[in-house]
């Protein structure tokens, strides 16, 4: 059974359709990267999943419980870290976590253990008696994450968890997310693409309220290494001679010397060997990768901007 099932979610702000008919699912062990440019509707979707905003249409099931009909049981299965960590700055870390534990209805005898576990996982063991206001941004972020995992929810929703952290802290948090992903379903909302590439095993891109891309990370990697190579030859042969090389799927002549070659086995080994053997004079070999960034830009750059860019390229 999936942890989250979202069906045809719609949310308006005034007349603006901020979230437009989004459906997706999340399964245990998934770390789902939720990507989109600013203002695409990421945070709105997360707020709806966490029960902070009510959707105007559609339904959300969390671990089988309907978020609208049975909000208490559905919310008990969620840990949510919003963009701005919800911290009471005047409280100490331990105090704050104890309050969160009670809010999440953790039974009294289990509270101490739950706090200890969450603090160990987030590297807060030394900070229990410090005022949250006096912690650095990175540590405050950790307290925010500790709050989200405290009641070991089935689903953890993290909205830009590494914003404002230094590179070491970012790495620690990413490691933590991967570790948490083994037992929980995680939705990671971000626009830092390398983060998604290094952490997530599924990715979704949202643009202007619509879900425009959805793929397993493994498929994305397959696609990426599907082997497009740009080669520049000093003594170019006829295009059919290149086709004759083993494992060649497609060849495109870009100009006199430059070809775009698509190999089936995703390596350029055969083409290089052929170039050497036939004395084609290989000068350049550039692998063309289809990165997440490229996919993201292709899907989310608005049409006008894209045509501007094309025009600019033509002019230059």
């Amino acid at each position: 059974m999936s942890l989250i099932t979202v069906n045809n979610l719609v949310r308006y702000y005034g007349n603006h359709r901020a979230v437009d008919n989004i459906s997706f699912t999340l399964k245990t062990g998934d770390i789902l990267g939720f990507l989109g440019p600013n203002g695409a509707g990421k945070s709105t979707t997360m707020q709806m999943l966490s029960g902070n905003l009510a959707p105007h249409e559609g339904e959300i099931h969390i671990n089988g419980f309907d978020l609208l009909d049975d909000p208490k049981r559905a919310k008990a299965e969620i840990g949510y870290l919003p963009e701005q960590p919800p911290l009471y700055k005047e409280m100490m870390v331990d105090e704050y976590l104890a309050y969160c534990a009670r809010l999440h209805r953790i039974e009294k005898p289990r509270i101490d253990n739950a706090i200890k576990l969450a603090k160990t996982r987030c590297g807060l063991m030394e900070s229990g008696h410090r005022l949250i206001a006096n912690l650095s941004k990175g540590y405050q972020q950790r307290v925010g994450i500790a709050q989200a995992i405290l009641h070991s929810p089935k689903v953890i929703i993290l909205d830009e968890p590494t914003v404002g952290l230094d590179p070491n802290q970012i790495r620690e948090i990413r490691d933590l997310i991967v570790k948490l992903g083994q037992e929980h379903g995680i939705i990671l909302c971000t626009h830092i693409l390398p983060e998604v590439e290094s952490v997530c095993n599924r990715v979704q891109i949202i643009n202007k309220g619509k879900l425009v891309y959805e793929a397993d990370m493994a498929d994305l990697l397959d696609e990426r290494t599907a082997g497009f190579h740009e080669i520049v030859l000093l003594h170019p042969p006829s295009i059919n001679q290149i086709y004759a090389v083993a494992d060649i799927n497609n060849v495109e002549r870009i100009n006199d010397n430059t070809f775009l070659v698509h190999t089936t086995n995703s390596t350029a080994e055969n083409i290089v060997n052929a170039a050497v053997a036939n004395n084609w004079g290989l000068i350049k070999l550039i692998p063309h990768e289809k990165t997440l960034e490229q996919i993201f830009v292709d899907l989310t750059l608005s049409d006008e901007k894209r045509s501007d860019k094309n025009n600019a390229e033509i002019e230059s």
């Binding site: 966490s50 029960g51 909000p71 919310k75 919800p86």
Partner: protein, 248 residues
């Protein structure tokens, strides 16, 4: 769960200087009133002994103290209630409450209970002054209890109205000013009207309903007024926060 939210609210008030300042300032001013009342009581004591059915110390000392207390708190209460919801909204901590498995009514009642507990502490401290008179004389404890009940109901009404206005905005100052405006209007509305008993302004007026209680007279009409006042504003708050999830 309601208690949990209430206790955190109370704790956070005492973690900042706010609660202490309020307690100190009200106590200081009321002490002054208390002593001047004792002073004037002594000056008219001789004439009182000649009167049949003369007013007692509660009427002459405690009631004026409670009346002044209600006016001071009319001014202070908006400052206490302004941050209840608006500050949580501004700091983003409202998200924590809304994404926890608790209902909006639990949040609202918890907040209201938290501020009510603080007012109970405050009233407890105020009541020590008239109670100290027990060392020298006998008190009409029933009258005093009625007065304290009146003050408590009045403060709870202030709190409920403040809570509602705090739920409308993310800016505590706006909440404070609008709460103060509303309460002051309800406070003075009696004066602007004729003295007709069934006058609608009199019916709405806070003063009109609290004065008899502070003087030791318990009318069920007044009790009903305060109960309705408090319940109305709490329900409005719940409705407002529910609507906000829809409108965003």
């Amino acid at each position: 769960m309601i208690l949990n939210i209430a206790l955190r609210e109370l704790r956070s008030m005492f973690l900042s200087p706010l609660a202490w300042t309020v307690l100190a300032v009200t106590q200081l001013i009321l002490c002054w009133i208390f002593f001047t009342q004792i002073d004037s009581f002594f000056s008219i004591q001789k004439e009182l002994t000649t009167l049949p059915n003369a007013p007692g110390v509660i009427d002459l000392i405690a009631a004026p103290v409670l009346e002044v207390a209600s006016i001071i708190l009319l001014m202070i209460s908006p400052l206490l209630t302004m941050r209840l919801i608006s500050e949580e909204r501004r700091n983003g901590t409202l998200t924590l409450l809304l994404s926890s498995p608790i209902s909006i009514s639990e949040i609202v009642f918890g907040k209201f209970l938290g501020i009510t507990l603080f007012y109970l502490i405050l009233i407890g401290m105020i009541s020590l002054m008239p109670l100290s008179l027990m060392m020298g004389t006998e008190l009409d404890l029933g009258k005093l209890a009625a007065g304290l009940l009146g003050l408590l109901l009045l403060l709870c009404s202030f709190a409920a109205a403040g809570l509602f206005l705090s739920s409308l905005t993310a800016n505590p100052v706006v909440a404070a000013i609008s709460t103060f405006g509303l309460l002051l209007l309800l406070w003075i509305i009696e004066n602007s009207s004729n003295n007709g008993a069934d006058n609608i302004f009199n019916y709405l007026s806070l003063t009109h309903h609290v004065t008899p209680l502070l003087r030791g007279m318990v009318n069920s009409v007044d009790l009903a007024y305060f109960a309705l006042f408090i319940i109305t504003f709490l329900l409005l708050t719940i409705r407002q926060m529910d609507a906000e999830r829809l409108q965003g």
